[in-house]
């Protein structure tokens, strides 16, 4: 697969002289254990672009893709390349929380509009919020808060918490604890991309909690749930999770995930007309079910389209246009708008993986949090 290279950039430059084209930088982890996540974001974005006729905001769009390999240093270089060399109009994607945080100073300094499709770490939701940095995905704590509320509402008493040891992991567990008022038996942080959870699962078994809450995105999720299953813990022990059992991991997990409950702001099972169209188009083009990462990529393109139209080619107005467009564009997840800190205000749903006729499908079972604002927006100085 060939990335659009210098030729496309050259064409974009010539074209931009006539103000007829826009260049967007798309950065995602396209290699390594989280490649699924990155690929889905790119595919979702490109599908939306295709449905818009290859145009964003009425202008023909050139998309430059970069692989950040989930390394903050590489992400920084890619962002720098987008801003200084390719002179993009906006940057979309921005990978996981740690890569986003690494590139944040450069993004803020340049003023280029940045739309994150996979992260919403608490610092940028709070004191470090930036006028040109948005997240069209979620605030990290959100889905976890929904699970915390669900567990609380269901009367679960003792929960065992597990997550990988980085910013998002800590955010998820903090979010769960914010709404869950029962007993936290244990809070375990494992190494990022750790493949073998046998030691931790043995601890888990001996602690005998009522339920487990876990956050293991991408490849980590496949390993964790499979191993939980092999240890005989599923379906005995209810598993509440976020970003662990989703479109990227279900194809590998299949039966192993049956019975697990996950929280997210979107799933392919969500029954709205916009979403049904999106899922059908995605499945037709890519032959697989989209994940929430594909949905955010899809939404980001549509958001940009509307915002570019509003800004009318004026780069200085793009950030404000994006913010305004947030309330107007049609998101596949349902109601959506940007809060003062440029993070979403949206619903968080609960989905259960059920075994139906030999296949595992996902069913929408509850909506624990509606129109939910994050816990950090008050610390942000933006209006």
């Amino acid at each position: 697969m060939f990335k659009l290279s210098r030729i496309a950039v050259g064409a974009a430059f010539c074209a931009s002289l006539a103000a007829q084209a826009t260049t967007i930088g798309l950065m995602a982890p396209l290699s390594g254990p989280q490649a699924l996540v990155g690929q889905d974001q790119v595919d979702g974005f490109m599908l939306a672009l295709e449905l818009l006729g290859g145009k964003l905001g009425g202008q023909s769009a050139t998309i430059l893709k970069e692989d950040d390999q989930l390394k903050p240093e590489i992400g920084q270089q890619a962002v720098r390349k987008f801003i200084d060399k390719d002179k993009v109009d906006a940057i979309v994607g921005l990978s996981f929380s740690n890569v986003l945080m690494g590139s944040l100073p450069r993004l803020a300094e340049s003023g280029v509009v940045a739309i994150a499709t996979n992260a919403g770490p608490s610092p940028i939701a709070g004191a470090s919020c930036k006028a040109n940095v948005f997240s069209v995905a979620w605030q990290n704590d959100g889905a976890a808060e929904a699970m915390g509320k669900l567990a609380q509402d269901k009367g679960v008493k003792r929960v065992y918490l597990m997550a990988p040891n980085y910013q998002a992991g800590k955010d998820m567990l903090a979010g769960f604890k914010r709404f869950f008022k029962g007993t936290v038996v244990e809070e375990v942080y494992t190494q990022v991309n750790q493949p073998d959870y046998s030691a931790e699962l043995a601890q888990l078994q001996s602690a005998k909690p009522d339920a487990v809450f876990a956050f293991y995105p991408g490849g980590m999720g496949v390993n964790f749930v499979k191993q939980m299953n092999q240890a005989g813990l599923l379906p005995k022990l209810p598993l509440y999770s976020v970003f662990t059992v989703d479109g990227t991991t279900l194809p590998s997990l299949r039966d192993a995930a049956a019975g697990t409950v996950s929280g997210a702001m979107w799933d392919a099972a969500l029954d709205t007309p916009d979403n049904r169209k999106f899922v059908a188009a995605f499945e037709a083009k890519y032959k697989r079910t989209p994940s929430e990462y594909a949905a955010t990529g899809f939404d980001a393109a549509n958001l940009l389209d509307l915002a570019l139209r509003k800004a009318g080619g004026d780069a200085a107005k793009l950030a404000a246009a994006v913010k305004a467009a947030g309330s107007e564009f049609k998101s596949v997840r349902g109601p959506f708008r940007f809060n003062n800190n440029n993070l979403p205000v949206q619903n968080y749903y609960a989905f259960e993986a059920v075994k139906q006729g030999g296949k595992v499908t996902v069913a929408h079972v509850a909506t624990p949090l509606k129109d939910h604002t994050d816990a950090y927006h008050a610390q942000c100085a933006l209006k």
Partner: protein, 338 residues
């Protein structure tokens, strides 16, 4: 470079490359492409780090699989004071060199008790330990790394500015290359290189091999730490991922690719490795499937890396090539070059 003969490709090619590098900031600014300044700064910084490793690895024969530790230390020597809002460049430098020297002294002393594969593995172990220490420092970012808001300021000179950083890095690279070239033929360097060939003989002459090797290792560590400090200023970010064994491995590859123990090897290796990566990336996102075999080919050809290849090519006078190579090697055995 006492026997520098500008006619030899092994000399004029790297020098012209250096000249080219000196022009980069002017060309890039004129063309309105500041991206290239940052790109070449990175190459220059890695060339410095590779030069540092070359001192230990090429001259001393100490195969250190843990030099990423010093790179990371240098980075955090900037990030930690910056976290506490201290941007004084001299303080950063002092912390960087001090930490690099101290850690190199301790780890070197322990590692030099072993040899061969054991030495390689124990240096790796120390780097891994450093990695896990920094990952565990959750208050300072842990696995996510630590952004640097206050880059190193030396009076009016702020290393956060791309041009200033490039200037300083390039000047340091030239200085280091020149100094290592002189060191190679100075008594210290000769003893070190002799120890690589036959330690027993050097000891028998009365020169304490262990002390020479430790000194080389410590200087190498300090230099690598300074490279780390520059890298942190470039990225405005310090991360434990700089301390992984993959980075140590890349440094070794750069040194070997360029030519172990040669003067310009590290520069050539860094340029080739990072430059080729960027060129190939432009063609396909699967560039590694070509890059990998290219490196294998380089190893199979084995003429002491790129520097060696350049030496083998006939020079402008026609008399060079193998003869020039042989002439170089005669220095160690005592006969004078013409």
């Amino acid at each position: 470079m006492i026997n520098a003969n500008l006619a030899r490709p092994g000399t004029w090619v790297p020098i012209s490359l250096l000249a080219g590098l000196a022009l980069v900031p002017f060309v890039a600014t004129a063309a309105g492409q500041p991206f290239w300044i940052a790109f070449f700064t990175r190459i220059v910084i890695y060339a410095i780090a590779a030069s540092a490793l070359n001192l230990a690895l090429g001259y001393g024969g100490l195969v250190s699989f843990g030099h990423a530790l010093f790179l990371g230390l240098g980075g955090y020597a900037v990030a930690l004071p910056s976290f506490y809002e201290v941007g004084n460049g001299w303080l950063h430098l002092a912390l960087c060199v001090g930490a690099g020297a101290a850690v190199a002294l301790v780890t070197g002393a322990i590692s030099l008790r072993t040899a061969g594969i054991a030495f390689i593995m124990i240096t790796l172990a120390f780097a891994q330990m450093g990695y896990f220490v920094f990952v565990s420092l959750k208050n300072f970012g842990g696995d996510d790394g630590l952004p640097i808001a206050h880059t190193s300021r030396f009076g009016p000179l702020d290393l956060g500015s791309p041009l200033a950083l490039y200037g300083v890095s390039f000047a340091l690279l030239v200085l280091v290359t020149w100094w290592l070239a002189r060191l190679r033929l100075a008594p210290f360097g000769m003893a070190l290189r002799g120890a690589q060939q036959n330690a027993r003989r050097i000891n028998a002459i009365g020169l304490p091999v262990l002390r020479y090797q430790l000194a080389a290792y410590v200087v190498s560590g300090m230099l690598c730490a300074v490279a780390g400090m520059l890298l942190a200023n470039l990225n405005a970010f310090a991360s434990p991922s700089t301390l992984t064994w993959a980075v140590s491995g890349e440094l070794i590859v750069m040194v070997v690719l360029g030519g172990i123990g040669t003067v310009f090897g590290p520069l050539l290796g860094a340029l080739a490795f990072l430059g080729l990566e960027e060129v190939l990336k432009g063609f396909s996102e699967h560039w590694m499937v070509v890059f990998g075999p290219l490196i294998v080919l380089m190893a199979l050809v084995g003429k002491r890396g790129i520097a060696g290849l350049l030496d083998v090519m006939p020079g402008l006078t026609g008399q060079e090539g193998w003869i020039g190579q042989a002439r170089n090697d005669k220095i160690l055995s005592g006969s004078q070059p013409k």
